[in-house]
Symmetry: C2
Subunit: 127 residues, 2 copies
DNA sequence: AAAAAAGTTCGACGGGCGTCGTACTAAACT
DNA sequence: AGTTTAGTACGACGCCCGTCGAACTTTTTT
């Protein structure tokens, strides 16, 4: 090999063909761009009572950790629900030490689907 | 028995304990009352692309028959989607000869969840 | 260095969903 | 009366969803 690529880097590149994100810490939690947010996915994400509660709780107080909700499910189920919300573009998760801070993507959602989040939040508060 | 209940009525009442609606033609297609409409059920009903298309089509032109949508699925699947929408309280179906006329429950939905339907419809139109 | 804290990953399980085909019902049109 | 029209009812199939437990990673605390 005449290129300055170590054996480790080559192995990593090969592995990336199979498993894209690999090791970049920032991209480990991948979010859709605001234009990529799909309505059906958002509505599906919000159609679960527990996820609706998460979103309502986040609307009341932003930047909360996953554990702060004290949901009546195991941690793995908790991870699942937050991932569904994140991949639908409803919330943003950022790594912060050992925890993940969750925030509502209000601006992005409002830009893509004006008024939708607010009406859902108001509806959730009413029930 | 000293109450004025005929044998027929008693039998009907007993049967109703096992199979509530039974034979009343109007109740064959049972809809939830507006206060009984649940948010999660509505969001779930709207989270399917085909049902979203049905609702959008109904918003454009009301009182349409099931067949008028020419959906790319079989009739039984079609029946399924309309039932999900009806049982969630999103649409109303009324028997009319051999067909069922579908209409959006705008007033009921607006009363229960103000602005929700409109924002979803606007979001659907945008995508 | 060891333990604790906060999540993630993986495999598994049961139930529900979207889809289909076949059989059926009820009204409408020959 | 027979046929067409417009749906419904009932299984059946594969797949996805919500849930769990066990093992793991990473950062923080002791």
């Amino acid at each position: 090999m005449d290129t300055h690529v170590t054996q480790g880097q080559a192995a990593a590149a090969t592995a990336r063909l199979v498993e894209p994100p690999a090791k970049l810490d920032e991209d480990k939690l991948c979010h859709p761009a605001s234009e990529e947010i799909e309505l059906a996915a958002v509505l599906h994400a919000l159609s679960d009572p527990m996820r609706l509660a998460i979103v309502a709780g986040l609307a009341a107080e932003d930047q909360r950790t996953c554990g702060s909700f004290n949901l009546p499910v195991t941690k793995s189920t908790c991870t699942h629900h937050f991932r569904v919300l994140r991949e639908a573009g409803v919330i943003r998760q950022q790594l912060e030490g050992t925890t993940r801070l969750n925030s509502l993507r209000r601006a992005d959602l409002d830009a893509r689907f004006p008024g939708l989040l607010d009406s859902v939040l108001e509806a959730a508060a009413r029930a």
